[in-house]
Symmetry: C2
Subunit: 263 residues, 2 copies
């Protein structure tokens, strides 16, 4: 099967113009099918403040009310997404900016109201993905650039970018050998959180379980690792956790982050 890179970037890249430019130039130069998923960054909060839209959090998680939904639809689906697309086009990468609503690429279920009403938030599974259309787009050398938005019942929904990346990776594993890359602020998963040089370069399930038992991992990395092993066990060939500045290494054989595989 052909290789497919599914790459997720967050606020630390998006909020810094030179970093973003360098990253996009690297992304454009990857000579393989690829998909980018971006988060929102600080601009949504900044614009929300200007418009007097209050951020509302319950137990540390943002609630997406109608005003906030319009805000993230504008900023993530419009401004951030199209600026990325225009720049990639300049680097001869035929990017196409999409949300889950476009081409019904990711259909969500609005999160049911439990103890908390999170508002316009979409939950997704691998069944949510229109992998047929994605496969056809990739075959046409069109590079999908996902904003973290999905849809259900005629409305847009806010959806976590990490989850979108995982779900896409699992769903497209039937067509490709997928390497799912999470760009974050550290070089990789660290053996010692205070030592940037202590990157665990290869991590398989048995080593993970052993280190987990020994309490070696920093709390912050645990959800990412759970997410990564979930993807691996659902058919994704490799998950890589690393820094956005090392994208070109991390899409080659000489990876600089943490490469996670089943065995």
């Amino acid at each position: 099967m052909n290789k497919l890179y599914i790459i997720k970037i967050g606020g630390n890249v998006l909020d810094d113009e030179p970093s973003l430019k360098k990253f996009l130039k690297d992304f454009a130069s990857i000579q393989a099918p690829k998909i980018l998923i971006h988060g929102g960054g600080k601009i949504a909060t900044k614009l929300g403040d200007q418009l007097g839209i209050q951020s509302n959090y319950v137990k540390g998680r943002r609630v997406t009310d109608a005003e906030t939904l319009d805000l993230v639809t504008m900023v993530y689906g419009g401004l951030v997404n199209k600026q990325i697309v225009a720049q990639l086009q300049e680097w001869h990468c035929n990017a196409m900016g999409v949300t889950g609503a476009d081409g019904n690429l990711i259909k969500a279920v609005k999160r049911p109201v439990g103890e908390t009403d999170f508002g316009f938030v979409g939950d997704i599974t691998t069944d949510s993905v229109n992998s047929t259309l994605l496969y056809f787009l990739l075959k046409q050398n069109v590079i999908p650039i996902f904003a973290p938005l999905t849809h259900a019942n005629g409305t847009m929904l806010n959806t976590n970018a990490d989850t979108i990346a995982s779900v896409l990776a699992i769903s497209l594993s039937k067509h490709f050998d997928v390497r799912l890359i999470f760009c974050f602020e550290k070089t990789g998963v660290l053996q010692d959180v205070k030592d940037e040089k202590s990157v665990i370069t290869n991590l398989n399930k048995s080593t993970y379980l052993k280190l987990l038992k020994e309490g070696s991992f920093h709390d912050g990395i645990l959800p990412k690792l759970e997410n990564a092993f979930n993807a691996i066990e659902s058919g994704v060939k490799e998950v890589l956790i690393g820094e956005h500045t090392n994208l070109l290494a991390n899409t080659s054989y000489e990876t600089k982050g943490t490469l996670i595989t089943l065995s």
Copy 2:
């Protein structure tokens, strides 16, 4: 050749929620390949006011400075476009929201600075269109929904929605029998501007020239007619000028607007 409907709507539909909903339901029900192009409506101006972005006009035409470009990219390319797409998905129309940057569908040239610097405005011709990708999307039953934005040299550009509709129609005439429909605020081209019932139902080139000579047309309709005959003479099979409420009639044989043909 198969029929293709290319339909342009403006602010009068977009700014009125019930009208838009009815229009989109009608649009979704058209059983043929189709493309929608939307303008912006009042929401960009309203949001610009809230953000303190001043509208700047030279000789009655808006100048797109960097702040205004961000505003229209957010509002046209994000909010308006994705709300339309989400609603169409609800009516089982597999809409995909795009700008000219996405998939390099319409590559523009930034308008050269002459007497006036219009800022981030894109000029386009039929050579600007990636008709291969559009044709491919339509073959997959994907319905492109265009925001009035294009791109060049790594940046988004503001582009007139009527022009985008015409250029798409001309460019796709090599693959389809195109009917280009301009939805506007009147039932059609009127023989007497004060009488809504005086719609000219069929207008060909020779009748047009005769009526033009007699001074029959209201000034406001002249640019639309010039635009229409330009499209007709460049390969578009039919241009229809009519009201958005009559969309279903105007995509059938019993048109209620003005159907413009070469002969």
